[in-house]
C-alpha cells in the first residue's frame, strides 16, 4: 500500500501548529463565507488568495497556503446548510436542494436534527471524496505522466464539452459564456509568440483580465444584486444543538445508509467530471425521492431529504479537486480558483506534482481528512454564533461585503482598474445569472484559456496542422470521441424526445 505510506507522510507534513491553526482559521472563515449571502466559496477563496502570496514564499509555505484556502472551501460547503435549514435561504447554490426538506424540518421544531444530519452527511460525503482522491489520484497522475500536448488538449476538450452536454442551461448559452471566458483569457500577451492581442493600444489590458477579478465580480457583486432584488429581510427560526440531539440524530442516520452511499457515488462522479456540486445535490435529491420508501413525504420535512443532497454536494465539492491536482483541470469554479492559486505560487498543476511536490500533494490530501473533521466539530458547536451573523441587517452587511470584494479585487495586481472591472463583472454576473447563462464554464475557460490554447497549438505544430493528431492513438481518440459525443448530447436528447413524442 504505497498510498497509505504517502498519506502517513502527508500527515507528518500537516501536523505542525502553524498548519493546524491555519486549518481552523480557514474553516471558520469558510463557514462565515458560506453563511453570508454574496460571499461564496469561489470568491471567498479569490479574495483571500492575494493574502497568501507572501505566505507561499516561505519554506513549506505553499502547503500552509493551500491548507488555508482549501479549508475555506470545506467550511463554505458546511456553512451553506446552516442558512438553508434555518432561514430557507441557500447560502450557496449547492444547498438549494437542502432547503426542500431542511426548512420544513426547522419549522417542525427539528432544526437541530436537520443541522446534525446535514453536517454529518456532509462529512460522510467528503470522507468518501477524500478516499477516492487518496487511492485514485496517484494512479491517474502516473497514467497522465505519459500525456503529450494532444492528450492534454483532448482532456480540456472533454471538460468543456461535458459542460455543454451535462448542464441544465440552454447549450448555446453555455457555449457563449464559455467562449467569452476564452476570449477574455486571450486578452494580453500571446503565450506562444508574445504578440499583443485584443489590447487595442490600452496599457491597462497588457496583462489581460485577471480571473480572480472576474470571479469576485461575477460571484460576489452579482450575488449581492440578486439577493437584494429578493428583499432585505431575513426571517428565520432559531436552533440549539446539544449533545442529546446530536446523539439521537446519529442513532437515526444509519437507517439511510443506502441513500448515503448512492448520494456519495453520484457526488464523486459529478465532481470528477465537471458537473459540480450543485447539479450533484439536485440529482441525488431526485434519486432519493424516487427510491425512498417515504419518497412521497419528501418536501414536508424528511431527514433523508437532507441527507441526500448534503452528502452529494460535499462528495462532489471534494472530488472536484481530483482532476485539478492530477490533470490540472478543475472540476468546479472554486477548484479553478485554487488551481489559479497554484499557478501564482509557482507550482505547475498536473501529474508532475506527484513526482516533484510530494510534500504539497500529500500534505493537501492529509489536510482534507483533518480539515473535514475540524469542520464537523466547528459547525456542530458554533451554529448559534453563525446564525447570529445572519441576523445582522443586510443594509450593514451588503456594503461591508462590497468593500471586502473591492479590497480583494484591488490586491490582485494593486490596480484600481480591477476594482472598476469588478463592478462591470458584477453587473454582467447579475444579468447572465437571471437569463440562465451558466457562470462556471466562463470561469473555467478564463483560468484554463492559456493552457488549452498552448496545448492546442503545440499539438498542431507537431502534426503540421493535421487535426488527425487528436485521433492518433486509442487514448487520445477515445477522449476526443467522448468529448464530441458530449458536445452533441443536447441535440441527441432533443431529437430523441421529439421522436418519442411523435410516436406517442
Amino acid at each position: 500500500m504505497k498510498e497509505l505510506e504517502s498519506l502517513l507522510y502527508g500527515f507528518l507534513v500537516v501536523l505542525t501548529w502553524k498548519n493546524l491553526i491555519f486549518m481552523f482559521v480557514g474553516i471558520l472563515l469558510g463557514v462565515i463565507i458560506g453563511v453570508l449571502p454574496g460571499l461564496g466559496a469561489a470568491n471567498g477563496v479569490a479574495i483571500l488568495l492575494p493574502l497568501t502570496f507572501s505566505l507561499a514564499q516561505q519554506p513549506g509555505g505553499t502547503t500552509t497556503a493551500i491548507i488555508l484556502l482549501s479549508c475555506i472551501y470545506w467550511g463554505a460547503l458546511f456553512g451553506g446548510a446552516i442558512t438553508s435549514i434555518l432561514f430557507n435561504i441557500p447560502g450557496e447554490p449547492w444547498s438549494v436542494a437542502t432547503t426542500f426538506d431542511g426548512y420544513p424540518l426547522a419549522q417542525l421544531g427539528r432544526a437541530g436534527a436537520a443541522l446534525t444530519a446535514a453536517f454529518t452527511s456532509s462529512f460522510f460525503g467528503a470522507l468518501v471524496g477524500v478516499l477516492v482522491i487518496t487511492f485514485l489520484s496517484p494512479v491517474i497522475a502516473e497514467f497522465a505522466l505519459e500525456f503529450g500536448a494532444p492528450e492534454f488538449f483532448s482532456v480540456y476538450l472533454l471538460t468543456f464539452c461535458a459542460f455543454i452536454g451535462m448542464s441544465k442551461e440552454p447549450p448555446f448559452k453555455t457555449l457563449a459564456s464559455m467562449m467569452l471566458g476564452f476570449a477574455l483569457a486571450a486578452v494580453g500577451t500571446d503565450p506562444v509568440t508574445g504578440t499583443l492581442r485584443l489590447t487595442f493600444g490600452t496599457e491597462r489590458l497588457l496583462t489581460g483580465f485577471d480571473f480572480l477579478v472576474a470571479v469576485i465580480g461575477l460571484f460576489g457583486i452579482g450575488e449581492i444584486l440578486l439577493t437584494i432584488e429578493e428583499g432585505l429581510e431575513f426571517k428565520g427560526t432559531t436552533a440549539r444543538i446539544d449533545m442529546k440531539i446530536v446523539l439521537r440524530t446519529w442513532k437515526e442516520l444509519p437507517r439511510y445508509w443506502l441513500t448515503s452511499l448512492r448520494s456519495a457515488a453520484v457526488g464523486c462522479f459529478m465532481g470528477i467530471v465537471p458537473g459540480g456540486a450543485t447539479p450533484a445535490s439536485f440529482m441525488s435529491y431526485g434519486i432519493a425521492r424516487r427510491f425512498s420508501r417515504t419518497g412521497s413525504k419528501f418536501g414536508t420535512g424528511e431527514l433523508e431529504g437532507v441527507v441526500a443532497p448534503e452528502t452529494a454536494a460535499h462528495a462532489a465539492g471534494t472530488s472536484a479537486l481530483l482532476p485539478m491536482i492530477t490533470l490540472g483541470v478543475p472540476g468546479s469554479p472554486t477548484a479553478a480558483v485554487l488551481l489559479g492559486g497554484l499557478l501564482i505560487w509557482g507550482l505547475q498543476p498536473g501529474p508532475l506534482l506527484f513526482v516533484e511536490q510530494k510534500d504539497f500533494v500529500w500534505g493537501l490530501i492529509a489536510s482534507m481528512y483533518l480539515g473535514n473533521i475540524a469542520g464537523l466539530i466547528v459547525v456542530l458547536t458554533c451554529v448559534p454564533l453563525f446564525a447570529a451573523i445572519m441576523r445582522v441587517p443586510f443594509s450593514v452587511v451588503a456594503p461591508i461585503i462590497d468593500i471586502i470584494c473591492a479590497i480583494g479585487a484591488y490586491t490582485v495586481n494593486n490596480a484600481l482598474f480591477d476594482v472598476w472591472m469588478m463592478v462591470v463583472f458584477g453587473l454582467a454576473g447579475y444579468m447572465l445569472k437571471k437569463l440562465s447563462y451558466p457562470l462556471a464554464p466562463m470561469v473555467l475557460a478564463l483560468v484554463l484559456g492559456h493552457s488549452a490554447e498552448a496545448s492546442f497549438r503545440q499539438a498542431m505544430l507537431v502534426s503540421q496542422g493535421d487535426m488527425a493528431v487528436f485521433f492518433a492513438n486509442s487514448l487520445v481518440g477515445t477522449l476526443t470521441t467522448l468529448a464530441i459525443v458530449l458536445l452533441f448530447w443536447p441535440l441527441v436528447s432533443w431529437l430523441w424526445a421529439k421522436a418519442r413524442r411523435a410516436s406517442a
Binding site: L51, A183, T195, L225, D402, I403, A406, K434, L461
Partner: protein, 168 residues
C-alpha cells in the same frame, strides 16, 4: 420574482435576452476583428496569434445569433418580467453606490470612501440613528486599516485624509 408589491414590469425577459445577445455578438465581432488583424491563418511556422481567438470569436457570434432567435421566440409565461420596478430600484440602490464607491476609491482612498459607502447604506436603507451610522462606518474602516495595513502589511489605496494624518 414578482410578488405583488414589486410594482409593474420594468422590462421583459425578451428585451434582456436581446440586449445580452447583442453584447455577446459585439464582443465576438471585436475578437474576430482583432484576430484577423493579427493573422488568423496558418503560417509557415504554425498557427498565427489570431488563429485560436478567431474561432472563439466566431463561436461567440454564432451562439449569440441563436440565443437572440431563441429570445425572440419566447412566448406567454416564459416572456415574463425580467425585473419589476420595485426590485429594480433596490438593485440600482446597491449598484449605483457601488459604482460611485469604486470611482471614489482612486480619489479618497479605500478607507474614507468605504466609510462613506457604509454610512450611505445604513442611513438611507437601514434608517439608523446617526450615532450608529458613524460608529459602524468609521469603526469598519478602522478595523480594515488595522487588518490590512498593520497586520498583513498589504498597502491599499489611500487618499488626502491618510496623507493629512501621516498614515501612508
Amino acid at each position: 420574482m414578482s410578488d405583488g408589491e414589486g410594482g409593474r414590469s420594468a422590462f421583459s425577459v425578451k428585451t434582456a435576452e436581446f440586449v445580452v445577445a447583442g453584447v455577446f455578438f459585439a464582443l465576438g465581432a471585436i475578437v474576430m476583428y482583432d484576430s484577423v488583424r493579427l493573422g488568423a491563418r496558418w503560417a509557415a511556422d504554425g498557427p498565427q496569434p489570431g488563429y485560436f481567438p478567431f474561432y472563439v470569436g466566431l463561436i461567440i457570434c454564432i451562439s449569440s445569433v441563436i440565443n437572440f432567435i431563441a429570445g425572440a421566440m419566447l412566448k406567454g409565461e416564459r416572456n415574463g418580467s425580467f425585473v419589476d420596478t420595485g426590485p429594480l430600484k433596490q438593485v440600482l440602490v446597491v449598484l449605483v453606490p457601488t459604482a460611485v464607491f469604486a470611482g471614489l476609491v482612486g480619489w479618497l482612498g479605500i478607507y474614507v470612501s468605504g466609510a462613506l459607502f457604509v454610512a450611505f447604506f445604513m442611513r438611507w436603507l437601514g434608517k439608523y440613528a446617526w450615532w450608529k451610522v458613524a460608529l459602524i462606518s468609521i469603526g469598519n474602516s478602522v478595523v480594515f486599516f488595522l487588518i490590512f495595513e498593520v497586520w498583513f502589511l498589504v498597502p491599499l489605496p489611500k487618499g488626502p485624509l491618510e496623507a493629512l494624518l501621516h498614515l501612508d
